[in-house]
Amino acid sequence: MLTLVKAFLLCGAIRNFINSTASFLTTMKILMYGWEFPPLLSGGLGVACHAIVQELARKHHDVTVVLPHAIENFLDKKRVSIIGCDAITSGVKDVPGLQHQSWQEFQGIQSFSTLLSPYLHLAGMEYRVKINKAALAIAAIIEQLRLFTAIASIDELSVLRSTAVAFTGQYGINLLAEVCHYAIVAGTLASVVPHDIIHAHDWLTILAGIEAKKRSGKPLIFHVHALEPDRSGDLVDTRIFAIEKYGMEQADKIVAVSEYTKNIIVDKYGISADKIVTIHNGTYGKDIVDKESGKAWKGHKMVLFLGRLAQQKGPMYFIEAARKILAQRQDVHFVLVGSGGLWDELIRRVAELRLGKYIHFTGFLEHEKINHIFRLADVYVMPSVSEPFGISCLEALSYGVPVIISKQSGVAEVLPHVLKVDFWDVDEMSNKIMALLDYVTLQRVILQCTDGKLKELTWEKTATALVDLYMQLV
């Protein structure tokens, strides 16, 4: 009996060895469609994309990253080539059905926003007439290219058409225009860039991926970092939702960043669970540097929030928890790092509560400043309403900052030893913040227990899982 077990284990070991050697020896060519990329970052998408590309390069795979804009980057130039769509003009004329005149109109739009933000909030902005015309042109192109066949079936096209005339202002029409432009241009690159597999990140690039798949016939992976229901709850932008759903149906495999996201895909998009693979994000893990907690404000403690000031991230719950705590004691300060649509509203609320002395807004910070802020923090809170993963939480832990995270997040499923709350439960949130500030033993034990887990959650592991998936599809 024992020998049978041993033999079985040996076979398994041999199989694993062969697989890892195979993946080690095989150099794959990956065509990756990204949107955000360092140093131009807006959220976790760019960080994840960059880390994955870097790790794939380390595993000796060749990656071609297609972005909206070419940027200077310090990745391994031998293995990674970055192509910016704004540099491509030559191949575009070959696209069937694309009329030169409307392409000129297209070019006009391209000069609009340089820092593309998938989270553009354009409430109340006025658009000029030129955009209207351009939007009409785009709708025409799309119809001609038949990119949105599935969307047309649910009458999205008429919505698109109508928005050309009457604005919603919710997601700027130029964002969708950019996405379409990107889809056309980046998709054509599949004819010229040699690749074994296509990997598209989020709804912004999936159309490009689908176009690429049509051209080369290679397998397509749709990597889902965030979904419309996360960003907007039940009031989804139906166009983006439609693009996400279309992408999920067309892709060969879907990668979700957490079981939480996988469940949303199954529940809300009606995709079969077999098609979805959960591969968690990771962290680079730093050695815990000297903490400077208590040095920020004359020995007072600091509680940190870091994220977009948007509904999804729950900064309003953070402020309410701060209010509860500051009613009892004033030796704690609260810092919100990040910018976003709720900026005005939150600042007004803080002023209304007369707590401006204790609650601080830094706006968007660069990488070095963020490192510094983490070193000053005593507690990090992530009260997200719906968070597909939550890389910032791992970063905080790698800086030795204990965290309190929302139960409605992906990272909660990989960290058993952190404090979790429901995002709306302000009472419990403030209770836990106070406990972390006052009970030193609690902090120490939590950090000790998560240390081991952090060492497991690396980008290298993410990349390994991705490569295994590629091998299955190729």
Binding site: K324, H417, K420, D427, S430, K432, L442, V445, C449
Partner: protein, 443 residues
């Protein structure tokens, strides 16, 4: 050679703490969750205590003194009986009255006090002794420490308090190659005898009974009795020490656990050399076969069978040290209510909930744990301790103020007395003068 079957049941329910947040500190001094305590207690009364105790009474009557068992009821449990269900308490009293049931002593509050304060430990044991004598009219001679925590020092202490028998876990850690089927003499003791739990045979009933993936499932009384019989000649006593909630709560009624217990005496007694005995009887009948040296504490908890279920991580250590550090101040206040509250905070369950060992996996700890995570348990407990410490400090302050003001009033009284005395003296002098004057003018 007769083989004894020694069955002992542990009965305990903790006073569970309510959700106590940081913001309750200083405002609410009510720590118990009476509602939950009542709900759980009544549920277990119906599922376990009533049917199991009734069954035992029937069996005792049926076998007319041949079937015997032992119980240990924690003080906290008995108090809950008094509050929530006198029916359960009456059944235990009836069991006591049969004369076939032995009651043991333990710490009243089911605490870990032996590890922190011998004085407190002694007081709790004496409290328990008194309670058992009052409620059940039973003078105990057998002792078991909370969760069978045992080492040489516990045995010595029990011996010094007059107990003749002590129970412990028959783990290989202390037995080595030896069998738990014999009586042992604790190292360093002269009189007291040690009985060790046969955990394999006990856990067959307590844990594996309803496990369908177990190779021996289903466990019928006949089969189990056969296993017991097959040890004949190799053991003198088979000690089956288990949680009473096995019957109806851990193993539900529909697993057939009650039928198992009902049939067990019949099948066991089929062997002429087998009998049931209580720990005290075994201690009287049998002599120790060897000395057993247990320098480090063992217990019956978890796979490790040591203290790590309650004292394994920093959260637990911190909480335990804080609560026991309050001993001197609490006792100085001479307030029975506060003393009771402090002692309830010592119940081992509170620290059991803070165990991190199995935080990621579902298991026994999670089954019992009302908290979502050990950290929640710790936070809740610490918040309560902070409020309690503040209350103690406040009362201490009050007491010293009162003492000081008592000193001033006595001072005032003596001043008044002096004034009265001096006025009295004045009167007397004035009288003398008057009389002298009278005398003078009359002459």
């Amino acid at each position: 050679m007769t083989t004894n079957i020694c069955i002992y049941f542990q009965v305990h329910q903790p006073d569970r703490l309510r959700k106590y947040s940081y913001f309750d500190i200083g405002h609410s001094h009510n720590y118990e969750d009476e509602k939950v305590n009542r709900e759980i207690f009544l549920k277990i009364v119906n599922k376990c205590y009533l049917p199991a105790c009734s069954l035992l009474l029937r069996l005792i009557e049926q076998y007319q003194g041949v079937f015997k068992v032992a119980f240990s009821l924690s003080g906290v449990f008995v108090e809950q009986c008094q509050r929530f269900s006198s029916e359960a308490l009456d059944l235990f009293k009836k069991l006591a009255a049969t004369g076939c049931v032995e009651f043991l002593n333990e710490t009243y509050y089911h605490s870990l006090s032996f590890l922190f304060s011998p004085a407190e430990f002694t007081e709790q044991v004496l409290l328990h002794k008194k309670m058992i004598e009052q409620e059940f009219g039973y003078v105990a001679t057998t002792f078991r420490n909370t969760e069978l925590i045992y080492n040489n020092d516990v045995a010595k202490f029990a011996e010094s308090l007059g107990y003749r028998t002590i129970l412990a876990e028959g783990t290989e850690k202390i037995l080595g190659w030896r069998s738990p089927g014999f009586v042992y003499r604790p190292h360093g003791c002269q009189q007291i005898k040690l009985l060790l739990r046969d955990y394999r045979l006990t856990d067959d009933v307590a844990f594996r009974f309803s496990d369908r993936s177990w190779s021996e499932y289903p466990l019928l009384a006949e089969k189990y009795a056969y296993w017991l019989h097959s040890l004949h000649g190799k053991t003198e006593t088979i000690n089956l020490f288990m949680d009473f909630e096995t019957f109806g709560e851990h193993q539900w009624h529909d697993t057939g656990i009650f039928e198992f217990l009902e049939k067990l005496p019949e099948y066991v007694l089929k062997h002429p050399e087998y009998c049931f005995a209580t720990p005290a009887e075994i201690s009287q009948r049998l002599d120790p076969i060897a000395e057993l040296d247990v320098p480090y504490p063992v217990s019956w908890a978890d796979m490790e069978r040591d203290l790590t279920a309650w004292y394994g991580n920093d959260l637990q250590r911190d909480a335990l040290h804080v609560v026991y550090a309050l001993e001197r101040d609490v006792k100085a206040l001479n307030d029975p209510q506060l003393l009771h509250v402090w002692r309830l905070l010592q119940t081992s369950d509170h620290f059991y909930y803070m165990c991190i060992k199995y935080a990621s996996d579902g298991d026994v700890h999670k089954y019992f744990n009302p908290y979502n995570s050990p950290y929640d348990a710790y936070i809740n407990y610490q918040n309560i301790l902070v409020d309690f410490s503040q209350e103690i400090a406040r009362k201490k302050e009050e007491m010293s103020v009162v003492a000081a003001s008592n000193g001033i009033t006595s001072l005032a009284t003596s001043e008044q007395q002096l004034q009265v005395q001096s006025s009295q003296r004045c009167c007397w002098f004035a009288n003398i003068l008057k009389q002298l004057k009278k005398l003078f003018f009359e002459c």
